[in-house]
């Protein structure tokens, strides 16, 4: 850690991991409700568990992005953060708002929560991923603006690098597109059309800039490859991301009432969307192969390479699988979608978050890398989580193919609930893989305690510190 104010990143990373645990626990609850329909009913209905699962996911990813920015922007700008106190204040506001919202989901019936929070004044609740009460959304906007101002000011006053510029463009886009969450007309087609401006233009647009910038930063630091080379790659990757991804939004406009020409625009452009993810994989491996130094933090390099590969699999391969209109006609809104959603979110955004945490946390704790023992635990957790997520994806894909066949691609289509019963075996297997994922997460958290312990008793710690 070169600048004192980078330390504000630490609480963000810790809160992110805590919310990650909550996310996975509720994922497991839902996984069980898929096969034991009345599990925890009516105390925690499926929809409540789902809100907690997806909203904690989004909040912890945002926490990680903010922590990443607070960590890397001072280092790139070569100066202290403009207002460290503001970053700390915003952390608490964000954490408390998120905590209260989750408590609201769990302990107040959703319609009561809507009433309590004055949803009628500006109705924005009750849409997938945007379930938060309107006042929580306003809170998110305030936190995002304060965060952006803080980061932008730091960049403006200091050294301007491509990494921090791309990060800043991504973060600005994140804030701007979130504003469409406040547009909720009665007209269902318009509602859905602009809902995707938040969801799609985030994950297949501006978030890819954030992903690219963080990946580039970690690769510069861990490989020592010339910044010029890395920055050129970064530009190419994000250029392809936006060139394909913006019009690629059309792959959500096939069946929601928009004109049929979107089947062409959406299919063609979104079929090209795997390109930036493919480039990212080539990029990461190339840079690591051409490395000029051997960074003692081996785990961070593994997370970085893992991000590139898994993002390509989840977004690129599993996205392509169902993105062409004639195929999407059958797969739209099935377990195929869920399979893709899981691997893409995990591969791209969960893993990039864990990458920057892995790289920065030891430095925030005053050491270049953790003890070898801790790193080995971390690498185990990587493999446990990544492999179990691949299996979750494969089981959901199998369930999805059967679902499509029995319910949609059939002379004698069967009812939804009947079909769900028939594919239950795969949901059981998914739950099993989910338990392995949880074990991976426990090992991950254990690695932090191992690192702290080894740092206190250096005799036990192995060569990691020595090779630094």
């Amino acid at each position: 850690m070169k600048y004192k104010s980078q330390a504000v990143a630490k609480p963000y990373f810790i809160a992110a991991i805590a919310l990650f645990v909550a996310q996975i626990l509720f994922g497991l609850i839902m996984g069980l409700q898929y096969v034991i329909g009345d599990f925890l009913f009516p105390e925690i209905p499926f929809n409540v568990a789902r809100m907690v699962h997806t909203n904690t996911l989004i909040v912890w990813l945002l926490m990680a992005f903010m922590g990443a920015s607070y960590y890397l922007v001072p280092e790139e700008a070569e100066r202290e953060l403009a207002a460290p106190w503001l970053a700390v204040a915003m952390f608490w506001i964000f954490l408390i708002a998120a905590g209260l919202t989750v408590i609201g989901y769990l302990f107040v019936p959703y319609s009561g929560l809507a009433k309590m929070t004055g949803n009628a004044i500006l109705p924005t609740m009750g849409r997938e991923f945007l379930e938060q009460p309107t006042i929580t959304k306003v809170g998110i906007v305030i936190v995002a603006l304060a965060f952006l101002a803080n980061v932008a000011l730091t960049v403006l006053k200091g050294r301007k690098t491509v990494v921090s510029l791309v990060l800043l463009i991504g973060l600005t886009g994140l804030a701007v597109f979130f504003l469409f969450a406040f547009y909720n007309p009665t007209n269902l087609v318009l509602d859905k059309y602009y809902w995707w401006w938040v969801v799609h233009l985030w994950v297949e647009g501006v978030w890819e800039l954030i992903l690219g910038a963080i990946l580039a930063f970690v690769l510069i630091k861990t490989t020592g490859v010339d910044r010029e080379v890395i920055e050129k790659w970064l530009y190419v990757i994000i250029a392809m991301a936006l060139i394909t991804g913006i019009i690629g939004t059309g792959h959500h406009y096939y069946w929601i009432g928009a004109p049929e020409y979107w089947q062409w625009w959406g299919s063609i452009f979104s079929a090209l969307e795997p390109i930036p993810f493919f480039l990212m994989t080539i990029f990461a491996f190339n840079m690591v192969n051409r490395r000029r130094r051997n960074h003692p933090n081996k785990a961070a390099v593994l997370w970085a390479l893992g991000t590139a590969v898994m993002a390509f699999l989840g977004a690129g391969v599993w996205g392509f699988l169902h993105t062409l209109a004639p195929i999407n006609f059958y797969t739209h809104g099935t377990q195929i979608t869920a399979a893709h959603g899981h691997l893409a979110f995990f591969g791209a955004y969960v893993l990039i978050s864990l990458t920057i945490i892995s790289y920065a946390m030891p430095l925030l704790n005053g050491r270049e890398a953790n003890s070898m023992r801790s790193q080995v635990l971390e690498m185990w957790s990587f493999w446990l989580m990544a492999v179990s997520m691949v299996f979750i994806t494969l089981f959901l894909t199998a369930a999805g193919i059967l679902q499509v066949y029995l319910q949609r691609f059939n002379e004698a289509p069967q009812q939804f609930m009947v079909v769900q019963d028939k594919v239950a075996l795969f949901y059981w297997l998914r739950e099993l893989a989910g338990v392995v994922f949880l074990i991976g997460l426990v090992v991950y958290i254990w690695s932090f305690f191992a690192a702290a312990k080894d740092a206190k008793e250096p005799a036990v710690s192995s060569e990691a510190a020595a090779s630094a």
Partner: protein, 150 residues
């Protein structure tokens, strides 16, 4: 990447390409908004009419009870319970059948089966929800879903 391809070329492709396709996207969006009145049944949404008021109320109830947390609507949402974009058709073009179904959910759920909550809606609220689902089923979705089962 070859040396002849410079960083500033890459940067220009990023800014130029992004801007171009953003503008193209906005143009397509503009064209879409002109085509939508033919497809999205906005004629029904006039809040001066009784049906229009019901649909607006129905959509709000749909949202404030988070139906999307279990169901999909036009294929978007959750995959735990049946698609509802075409439930009006699946239930024999009957609002009453939809209302009866929602009204009859047992508060404690159905043992071992995926369960839907009992929302204790009033008759008027049920009517609004059913009207909203009827409206959803009449949107021109380019022939989706493939069949009545959603």
């Amino acid at each position: 990447m070859p040396q002849t391809f410079t960083k500033s070329m890459a940067r220009n492709i990023f800014y130029g390409g992004s801007l171009f396709f953003l503008l193209l996207f906005l143009a397509l969006t503009f064209d879409t908004s002109r085509a939508l009145p033919e497809r999205d049944r906005r004629d029904q949404l006039d809040t001066a009419s009784e049906v229009g008021q019901k649909i607006a109320h129905g959509k709000m109830l749909w949202e404030t009870n988070n139906c999307i947390g279990c169901h999909s609507l036009l294929g978007e949402g959750a995959y735990f319970a049946p698609e509802l974009g075409n439930v009006y058709v699946r239930f024999g073009n009957s609002k009453d059948a939809i209302k009866a179904f929602i009204r009859s959910r047992p508060a404690e759920g159905i043992a071992g089966r995926r369960s839907m909550p009992q929302f204790n809606f009033s008759d008027e609220e049920l009517d609004a929800i059913a009207e909203f689902l009827k409206y959803s089923s009449e949107i021109n979705t380019a022939g989706w879903p493939p069949n009545i089962q959603g």
